[in-house]
């Protein structure tokens, strides 16, 4: 159920990328796809009634092992977020330059190349 909703979010983003004609909408679609994957990754590491994977002096290590959520997905998602930021920055840079050249964000008017 939860995973299916996550996938729905992913597909909404993919729909935006595939169908929309506006460059900014395509960027928005990409951001939504990335958000969906990020939350999916953290969800697969979540443990019901878990605690954050940070040790403290008062905690018994075995209790910590039995209750903490999975730390690996959290490390992965941090990497994925920064990668997503890099991709977004670059996409917007190209979109801005395209605007300078064509005076529009509409992909139909930009289409010079045959594809």
């Amino acid at each position: 159920m939860h995973y299916a909703l996550c996938l729905a979010l992913f597909l909404v983003g993919l729909y935006g990328v595939m169908v929309k004609r506006n460059l900014i909408k395509i960027v928005i679609g990409l951001i939504i796809m990335e958000s969906a994957v990020n939350i999916f990754i953290v969800m697969i590491g979540y443990r019901k009634d878990g605690i954050a994977p940070i040790m403290s002096k008062v905690m018994d290590p075995s209790v910590f092992l039995a209750r903490s959520v999975d730390p690996v997905p959290q490390a992965l998602v941090l990497t994925a977020i920064v990668i997503g930021l890099g991709v977004t920055a670059m996409t917007v840079a190209i979109a801005l330059r395209l605007y300078e050249k064509y005076g529009t964000y509409d992909i139909k008017e930009i289409r010079n190349l045959k594809g």
Binding site: F10, L14, V17, L23, I26, L30, M33, E34, V37, F40, I41, I44, V72, P73, L76, T79, A80, I83, G86, V87, M90, T91, I94, A95, R97, L98, K101, Y102, I110, R111, N112, L113, K114, G115
Partner: protein, 494 residues
Amino acid sequence: MQIIPLFVAIPLGAAFFIPMVGRKNPRLSDTLANFTTLALFIMALSVIGKATEVYWMGGWVPRLGIPIGINLVLDGVSIFMLVTITLISFLVTLYSIQYMDKFTSKARFYSLFLLMVAGMNGVALTGDLFNLYVFLEIASISSYALVAFGGQHEELEASFKYLVLGSVASTLILLGIAITYAMTGTLNMAQVSTVIGGNFQPIHLFTIALFIAGFGLKAALVPFHAWLPDAHPSAPAPISAMLSGVLIKTLGVYALARVLLNIFGMTPLTSYMLLILGTISMVVGVLLCMGQDDLKRFLAYSSISQIGYIVLGFGLGTRLGIAAALFHLINHAVFKSLLFLNSGAVEYGTGTRDLNKLGGLKDKMPVTTATSIIGSMSIAGIPPLSGFWSKLFIIIACVQAERYGFAAWAAGVSVLTLAAYLRLLRRTFYGEPGEAQPAAKEVPISMKLSMVALAALCVAMGLLWMPSAQRTFLIPAARVLQEGLTYASSVLGM
């Protein structure tokens, strides 16, 4: 072996360093970049023939058989890919010294270029799924920027298209990796492979489909090829050579082969899927390439077709098929980068790459003409050039695996390729002098050097199929992929 991480660390260090010093001193960045790629090439040559070696990052060796760190695996295929990547990147940086004088910000060009090389080396070496994704993104992001390097209308447009499709591909791959982690609890390729153990549930097929779509987009296999004919021609010529020559192969074909063959294990279904995808790419690519008027678009479509051959060879799954596919991979890297560098030389000498305006260049540009003929004949499969041997062995492998239909397609496409390239040569170098012919001039020395070196390799590469070279270079690589699931035990040492 301490040399293994240096394949990534050296280009990264150079890429971080060059923008700091190259700003004031452009010639220093030329020297540094060429020295770096040359060093990498020598390092890659020095590891040929070594036995499989696993390097655990940070000294985190497996504890009680559980891989807790990230590992780099230097096995036959990795060595093969490293040699291909570093060879082409060295010759391309040599070519760039004078070609890139047409553009500003040369230091940043080299920085992005070396980041791309570091990313590809990282992909070739890694033994960890998420790490594969990270280095794939390094290589992809720098290639998006390099495609837009010229800053003109078409470059930006092609780069945007490439970026959007490339990001969709990366996200699909990341989703596939996340599902794999959710099912197996680990990211280490060897451990994933042992946990799955060839025991497929529907969700594994779904994951495989995600990986095929993602890596297929990166490799520009036919239903996913829309970005390639825009992106590869728009980039500066050295970058086109890198993209068509090695990038699509490392990020697409190699990564796909690793994931499908070494992690999930080849099944009849995946094998058939690869065969079909390969054949469609082969046929559609060559048909589309015949109608092109732009020299570089022609070459780009032809790349799709040749990638089809490689995927077809992998799809067969036999030792001969995989070895022939790898052989074709390195051959294609050499002659396609040669042809793209030639197209850059034509553009440099005449200022256009429109085939309707070219023609009769053979007297004005003798070196470019001679090297182009060698490259074209090699890709078209004329004996005794390298392309002939690799195509021949792919066809033989098809016959041996009793896939006669695919063998016929491969042979037919190779005839069409020959026709297309003969026409290309006539329209560019022979025939009536075009309107761009009078002003044409031969290119400077560094560009000539790198084209001649690649042409010589085209001739010499056929020797790789000689028994002794085959034993040390091709067969170990093919064995790793063909013996699929033994990868896990050789990495984890069980």
